[in-house]
């Protein structure tokens, strides 16, 4: 498996997202400009210029016309995917950490960081069909959890919002009322900051990665712990294969240790685990810094990883990958 190295960002990668067809790959980095690539050959298509801070997260609409990005410049921007023009800017008074389109792309859930005395929030905005009608009103605002909320996504049928963050607790909220429905307990839950959360294609289950060196698989309706994947390093990024019963988990270590780590130590590998058996299948080396972002192509035949080293590595699986027997 020979990866395609995509060098377009000048700072560490933060997030990767494929569109529904899997022909476009959107990447976010700390260098202010989200970039779109051909997911097949890694050719750079264009950038979205306008943010004035690190871009933490993005999401693309189902029809691949709209891109939404959340940035540390305290704004969330809506873009036209094809032309790269800014359609609208939601302004906040603290950095925006995560964005996620709802089913039907009419709503977007945004999380903002605790900043200058403001607590962290989860906000739901309505996305108008015509950008001219767009307003900045929040449909719903949830406050409460302590610390940064690293990820908030829509649950099945837009009925719930699932959030996870620094306080290591996963919470399910009612998307209508903003009431807390469920949260993880001490025993089954993570012990340290949850860094990433990835929904399965049918939204029935999701995977979380945490600094406690584990990744956990949960039922998104009942919030039951299904599986735990034990790693030997903090987890920064997770992804679920849409095709096979595999998950891929990437990590690194605390920033203080990075300079003391030899690349050969294998800490910067993307590790594949069998989703059901929880056994390690293998690893993909290459990055020379921690992996910050992982994404599977919706067809399950390729995946990409983004690292602290500023590279996106696009991997098309070899035919042998599809015949792995466990």
């Amino acid at each position: 498996m020979r990866p395609i190295l995509m060098k377009g960002h000048e700072r560490p990668l933060t997030f990767l997202k494929y569109n529904r067809e899997g022909d476009l790959l959107f990447s976010c980095a700390k260098d202010h400009t989200p970039t779109v690539w051909f997911a097949d050959d890694g050719e750079r298509l264009g950038t979205y210029r306008g943010h004035n801070g690190a871009v933490w997260c993005c999401d693309v609409s189902r029809d691949s016309t709209r891109l939404v990005t959340g940035s540390a410049d305290q704004s969330v921007k809506l873009w036209d995917v094809q032309t790269g023009t800014q359609l609208y800017t939601f302004n906040f008074n603290s950095p925006a950490r995560s964005v996620d389109f709802s089913v039907g792309d009419k709503l977007v859930v945004i999380t903002t960081d605790p900043f200058m005395g403001n607590p962290s929030t989860i906000q739901v905005k309505r996305i108008a069909r015509d950008p001219a009608d767009q307003t900045s009103d929040s449909v719903l605002t949830i406050k409460g959890p302590q610390g940064r909320i690293n990820r908030a996504v829509w649950g099945p049928l837009n009925k719930t919002i699932i959030s996870a963050g620094e306080d290591s607790i996963i919470r399910i909220w009612d998307a209508e009322t903003g009431n807390l429905l469920k949260e993880t307990d001490k025993e089954s839950g993570h012990q340290k900051t949850i860094s990433s959360l990835c929904m399965s294609a049918d939204k029935s289950h999701f995977l979380t990665g945490s600094a406690d060196k584990s990744a956990k698989l949960w039922d998104s309706r009942s919030l039951t712990l299904l599986k735990t994947y034990q790693m030997d390093r903090p987890v920064n990024a997770v992804a679920i294969s849409p095709l096979l019963d595999h998950v891929v988990i990437g990590g690194g270590q605390e920033a203080v240790n990075v300079t003391m780590t030899d690349r050969r130590a294998g800490k910067f590998e993307a590790k594949f685990y069998h989703k059901i058996l929880q056994d390690e299948i293998g690893g993909v080396k290459g990055h020379f810094g921690p992996i910050n972002a992982l994404a599977f192509n919706p067809d399950g035949r390729s995946f990409s990883s983004g690292g602290e080293d500023g590279y996106v590595r696009l991997h098309h699986f070899d035919p042998e990958y599809f015949s792995i027997r466990m």
Binding site: E21, L157, R221, A265, I276, P298, M326
Partner: protein
């Protein structure tokens, strides 16, 4: 227990009698008066009581009593006082008004004794040691005692009572681990505050826990050389543990602030060492060494002194002792132990714990010595003296009798190192010599054949004698040795044999492996196999090499590996990353031929040690017979192996099937939900039909050709 375990109904009855409603009482809120245990001993209390009673300072530690003085009249009082002052003024400083000679008030005569107070207890002790038995004249021989001891002597009963003979208690079966049916080996690990002992269960490909205990030791643990005991080290002393099922404490060896311990090779004695920082920074450290009998736990002899007395050569300094200070000799019987001093070697025998022939063995300028591992033969090294006028020398000395068996003079030597073969058959001396210009050194070996007549010596020089020697190791139970030599990042490894050719055996080279990433050699305890390891700078490269067939069996890597140890049978190899650095801590277990069996990561991993085994009881002939008929014996074990692996894979299959089934029930439910919600989802999407989140339906890739005029340029062509 006074209130021997009341049962619940009894408590209820009692409460009824006293008119107390039990349900109103919150038992957790009852606070007992501190310091009262109501006659109920806590579990660890007797341990506390067993601890040594603290020493009380009476404040008279610096006072001595001198008895048997002449009885004098007041006229002569001053004169006697003068004499005493003169005698004791030599040994220390008498405190002002610190000399008191009591006088009989009736006769005005002195009572024949006096008290002397010194500045320090140290001085008092010294004064006692020096002047006890001092002859003032024929009839007045001083009897000197410490003031603190008088009480003790007073309490000695006048009548002798026979010592109580304790009934015999059957001891624990200390060798029980050797009777393991699967013939597995044990090892101990220390990670964080926990010390754990495991069976190495290679068949199940995992360690099988035996015993675990938190805060078992204050600094480290150590197996005794034959594996009978595990020693732990504490502030108050050392302890040894062993037994059949769990690890019980066998003996405790009190020694305050103990720092190092060392077992004699035959497990008869334990040496403990501590050094104490002096109160006066100009003084040297005080060193205490105790030798205990492991069987009885009794202190056999102690050695005290300043650290200088126990260090030799120029490498002194504050903590310049090289452990172990005492080296044990005389094979497994632990007959002798010896230490090196200035211009002498002190050899003690364990029958009496005094010097052999009651005096030290004088060797001028001796800097190093070592015992043969099997015989009472000392090898010692004396460096060059007088700018080369007196050559350096290595000699072999037989104990007792101090007979010099062999001696070899060596010229322009910078350093020497001695390597005994574990059977005591050979001694290799690595000699670093100066080149003619004295600017650099080169290395050669002097090989002694101890068991042959007259102890022939052979000189071996490497093919390239300028090569640096990085490591040297004898093959246990064999006749070969390995050397890593060379400069630069990829040294060579050479193997030599002591047994080649006809009747006159000569050393010969077997092979040289070029450019290996190795800096350490680990022979299998059974010989034949060796691990060439690249530790530290080489990041843990491992090569498993078969010296019989001169071929590499396997290579491996344990990244950052710091320690390697073969199990005592030579079947497995453990490689470990200990807490020298924080990363990658843990250990791996390999088979002898380099197959990685399992790996266990452990944070804050400090120690890995295989439990040693006593030597085999089989005679060499018997062993050979077994290895000849190995096929016959191995059948049984192979069958067992197969059974286990079948059972394992069966277990594995079952587990997998269970997991798979569990997962299927989940996904079935999800699918059902998904179907049920299809309509709602469609609505949310404004009726967009496809329900696939991914792109299972193929999108059409159309190739569109588009032309664009970039520039029009006209050029006139002639």
């Amino acid at each position: 227990m006074a209130a021997a375990a009341l049962s619940m109904p009894e408590i209820e009855n009692k409460a009824m009698n006293l008119g107390i409603d039990l349900s109103t009482i919150d038992f957790d809120n009852i606070v007992l008066p501190p310091g009262d245990d109501f006659g109920i001993n806590s579990d660890d209390e007797d341990i506390l009581h067993e601890e040594e009673a603290p020493e009380f300072e009476t404040g008279y530690g610096n006072v001595i009593v001198v008895d048997n003085l002449p009885v004098v009249s007041p006229e002569k009082f001053a004169k006697l006082e003068g004499v005493i002052r003169k005698i004791y003024g030599q040994t220390g400083v008498i405190k002002e008004g610190g000399l008191w000679m009591p006088v009989n008030p009736d006769t005005n005569m002195t009572l024949g004794y006096c008290f002397i107070e010194f500045n320090t207890a140290q001085e008092a002790k010294e004064a006692k040691e020096k002047t006890d038995g001092y002859k003032l004249d024929k009839s007045h021989i001083f009897v000197v005692d410490m003031f603190d001891d008088i009480d003790r002597y007073m309490n000695v009963p006048d009548e002798w009572t026979p010592a109580e003979i304790k009934p015999y208690e059957a001891g624990d079966h200390l060798q029980h681990w050797l009777t393991d049916e699967k013939a597995r080996d044990q090892f101990v690990i220390r990670a964080g505050t926990v010390t754990e002992i495991f069976w190495n269960d290679a068949r199940q490909v995992r360690p099988d826990p035996v015993y675990q205990r938190q805060y078992w030791t204050d600094s480290f643990v150590q197996w005794s050389p034959l594996g009978t005991y595990l020693a732990t080290v504490h502030r108050q002393g050392a302890a040894v543990w062993g037994g059949k099922s769990t690890f019980n404490r066998i003996h405790r060896f009190p020694h305050n602030q103990v720092k190092h311990i060392d077992f004699s090779p035959g497990e008869r004695f334990l040496v403990t060492y501590s050094s104490q920082e002096p109160s006066n920074p100009r003084d040297t450290h005080r060193v205490v060494l105790n030798i205990f009998d492991l069987g009885t736990g009794k202190l056999m002899r102690d050695f005290k002194g300043s650290v200088d007395d126990f260090t030799t050569g120029g490498s002194g300094g504050l903590s310049g002792i090289s452990w172990p200070i005492f080296k044990w000799g005389g094979g497994k019987e632990d007959k002798y132990f010896a230490r090196i001093g200035k211009n002498a070697i002190y050899v003690y025998e364990t029958e009496t714990f005094i010097l052999v022939d009651k005096k030290s063995y004088k060797v001028d300028n001796v800097v190093d010595f070592s015992w043969s591992p099997t015989d009472s033969i000392l090898a010692l090294f004396v460096p060059e003296l007088g700018g080369g006028n007196q050559p350096a020398r290595v000699s072999l000395v037989q104990m007792p009798g101090k007979v010099e068996l062999r001696q070899k003079n060596l010229f322009s030597v910078s350093d020497c190192k001695m390597y005994w073969h574990s059977n005591g058959e050979y001694l290799a001396v690595k000699v670093d010599r100066y080149t003619k210009t004295k600017k650099s050194t080169y290395t050669g070996f002097e090989l002694f054949r101890i068991k042959e007549r007259d102890i022939p010596i052979e000189v071996l020089e490497l093919d390239n004698k300028n090569d640096k020697i990085i490591a040297f190791a004898w093959e246990p139970k064999g006749h070969r040795f390995a050397v890593i030599h060379g400069d630069g990042p990829r040294p060579d490894v050479s193997f030599y044999s002591m047994k080649t050719g006809g009747i006159t055996a000569r050393v010969s080279k077997l092979t040289t492996l070029k450019a290996k990433q190795a800096n350490a050699l680990y022979w299998s305890p059974a010989g034949r196999f060796i691990v060439l390891a690249g530790l530290k700078g080489f990041n843990g490269q491992l090569e498993f090499y078969n010296v019989d067939d001169l071929e590499t069996m396997a290579t491996g890597e344990h990244f950052m590996c710091t320690d390697i140890e073969w199990d005592p049978t030579g079947r497995y190899v453990a490689t470990a990353v200990t807490s020298v650095h924080e990363m990658e801590n843990g250990f791996h277990i390999w088979s002898f031929n380099g197959k990685l069996l399992y790996r266990i990561p452990k944070d804050h991993f400090f120690q890995f040690q295989w439990r040693p085994r006593p030597p085999s009881l089989l005679s060499p002939e018997k062993e050979e017979e077994i290895s000849r008929n190995l096929r016959k014996y191995s059948k049984k074990y192979e069958a067992e192996d197969q059974d286990v692996s079948l059972a394992l894979s069966e277990q594995d299959r079952k587990k997998r099937r269970a997991l798979q089934e569990e997962w299927e029930t989940w996904t079935a439910r999800w699918k059902q939900y998904h179907e049920e919600e299809r309509e709602l989802r469609l609505q949310l999407r404004d009726g967009e039909a496809s329900d696939d989140e991914g792109s299972q339906e193929q999108y059409e890739a159309k190739e569109v050709e588009a032309e664009e005029v970039l520039d029009v340029h006209e050029e006139i062509v002639d």
